[in-house]
Symmetry: C3
Subunit: 319 residues, 3 copies
């Protein structure tokens, strides 16, 4: 039903955005190029998706992510419908695919899907193809531990904005790689775009087995891992996911892995610091760094709107 | 204050949509006719209600119904305000009519009302008339066990779409008639439009006393009731409403009243199957039927948007 | 960082709306003048804020207030994003200012802020100035016990509409002054606009110490306080805030301080009655008064939309 890559059609155009894995470098670059006018334009509202219906289908609550997609869609002049699915028909026993069929029958043009289970957006895209509704696009807004591709793309946009070229960079990803869908998207994007050295810095308990096979170097110490890097990508410490014995205490974590000015001094002097938000100040990042000159955390948010507009415009056919 | 029929003004125009009971056949037909261009148009967004304010006032949570009205209103270019009233001022002790007065004072043009109590939308329409605000229209989006008229209308649209003529049909309504506001709307619509034989199929415990007075034939067995019908209208088994001893078990219910391919074979070969959703697969309907060729359940959803657009456009004065 | 008055820029233009305290009489009058065309226009939708992004940031639930701002912004053609912050990232431990920074980075143009803590909107405005984002305006939609300036402004609009001139009025504010942010906004507005006599009528337990310093006369009895007044401004009895021994019972309260036709007869024959809503009928106000000829409670709601449109239009640069 699907060709090998459901995200890309036979002409190499973006069909869905499910994961950065499987996106060719040229397509990633085209998305970033398409985002640039949106990031730079004075004109916030654009008539690109006028009359189109974008459904934000959130099976998991995430006000922040939902807001970024909602504002991106509204700036493209789409009609946006927000669906908090945890309080909806699924609670009445309807299956996921029946819900999808119903929303598709309302003549949806695009589904933005957030789901607690890895693969749910892929399943939806597959079902739409199987039932002859290929004109509806699916954008993964975070699925379980799997992927969060627009986050990965906005990170790439941010790095390109400040560093211009990917092919001479050393990039360190720091923190809870084990539970992070953001980290997976980032690693795929960085290696695909030709970053020669991607490092992961984390305590042993937070590094998945076989991490090196993704093309990264694993470090367990900040002093080794941060030395000479151009880009530091911090991860959020997912307190809510860590029950039990994986970590000693947040205080202890901050001492060892929290990004302080002292540790950041090991990186190149012009290194930039990214964080996907929301930040735990004093846990994974020190306020002096979060509010410091090297942080590009707020530009990430602005670029995130532009990148989501670009993805939606490409899927809607005009970008 | 009200003439006998608050839904229709003295020129025979739709004033509110409160119940299918009391709508003349000609007016129902005009609504279905008005829906047709919306169902068939390529152009989703229409400038029919530009500048009008539509309030979705939901005293009961129903994401699905709210979504269909929201998207219908947005496609007509209205401004839509969603109000989840169970978490609102009414919780602070405000009366229903004070809430209505307040929203009316915000220069509302239309109220879409969902309420757990039968008659609430009628009460609101009556109050608006009594206070000289006849320009605000009320659409009943489901009130207690009473009515759900847009569901009834979309069912009629669907039957007309597939069967063309109502006057030679045999239609069976199957399931929990006792607790269903959908069933009442359907029966009124079918008899009004001239369907010569309307059947109800349900266990004795789920048939209200005096059902026959509505002009239907009651069957307690599927093998008798389904024989030779043109249209099968399934009802959702409202698990949440059935405490206690009305039914043996969902498994038992499925065996006796669940629509399987075998039972459906008793109907005419070109019989169509409707369901208002959300479906309980394996309870009132078998997946082989739900996903089969005779099911028109997803077209119902599409037609539902068109019918709601038609009703809102007629109430807004241009349809 | 701020000049003495953060709400007004050096040219005397409105910069934020945080509190009526500190607004010169001329600026209040300009807001009321700007609201008039919106209150009187046949044309509900205006292209004043096209392409602008208005964020309703509600840290406290208030469906009514949120709705008035949402509809005002939509009638000005803005894109509106509703954020229920009690269920959002702040729950994940993000600080208030990090949340603000993130929303600002999404290229917000205006924040409508409701917060349980007095001063939160001021803090946000201060932070935006400190971080060089003065182009984002803040409107206080109610902060703790501090202020609710658009309520105060709509009250002034209502009084001016019915009484034309402020400088010969006697105005009584009745009820739970102690817990009311509305009362503070009203008193500031009335004294600034030149009302020669502002009275407060409340039981001793509900009058803050030093009330007279705000320029009001305090009465503990309705028969003394209402005598000869032109305007009666009722306050809502905040049941939910009054634990314990401040009041005997709502029945007793109604007997002593509830506004009945008998008590209202002590005021001037053409006195008007205001109430911010939602009303507790039979507690602070009798239904005969609430629904009577002297009540202007529903016009308040209509004027409230117009006043909010005027404030937003002035902050958006075109009013």
């Amino acid at each position: 039903m699907f060709s090998t890559n459901p995200q890309v059609d036979r002409h190499g155009e973006l069909r869905h955005l499910l994961s950065i894995e499987g996106l060719p470098a040229a397509l990633i670059t085209r998305i970033l190029d398409a985002a640039q006018p949106y990031a730079e334009s004075e004109q916030k509202k654009q008539p690109v998706l006028t009359g189109k219906s974008v459904f934000n289908i959130f099976f998991e609550n995430s006000t922040r992510t939902r807001t970024t997609f909602e504002i991106a869609a509204k700036r493209l002049s789409a009609d946006v419908i927000n669906l908090a699915m945890n309080t909806s028909s699924t609670a009445k026993g309807e299956t996921l695919l029946d819900t999808v069929d119903n929303l598709a029958a309302m003549q949806a043009d695009m589904f933005i899907v957030r789901h607690g289970s890895s693969g749910a957006p892929y399943l939806i895209a597959q079902h739409l193809a199987a039932t002859g509704r290929n004109h509806i696009s699916v954008v993964n807004a975070g699925d379980g531990r799997h992927a969060h591709p627009t986050q990965g793309l906005l990170d790439m946009y941010t790095i390109r904005h400040y560093k211009k070229d990917f092919t001479n960079l050393t990039v360190a990803i720091v923190g809870d790689v084990l539970h992070s869908r953001v980290a997976r998207s980032q690693i795929h994007a960085l290696t695909t775009l030709g970053v020669p050295e991607v490092r992961v810095i984390a305590p042993k308990t937070l590094v998945p087995a076989g991490m090196e096979r993704m093309g990264v170097r694993v470090f367990n110490s900040m002093s080794d891992g941060l030395r000479g890097v151009d880009v530091v990508m911090m991860l959020r410490l997912q307190n809510e996911r860590m029950q039990g014995a994986l970590l000693p205490s947040t205080h202890e974590y901050f001492k060892t892995y929290g990004l302080t000015p002292e540790k950041l001094a090991l990186a190149k002097p012009d290194a930039i610091v990214l964080h996907p938000g929301p930040m735990n100040r004093g846990v994974e990042i020190d306020s002096a760094v979060a509010d410091g000159k090297q942080a590009v955390i707020l530009p990430q948010v602005s670029f995130g709107i532009a990148v989501r507009m670009a993805v939606m415009a490409m899927l809607g056919g005009k970008a």
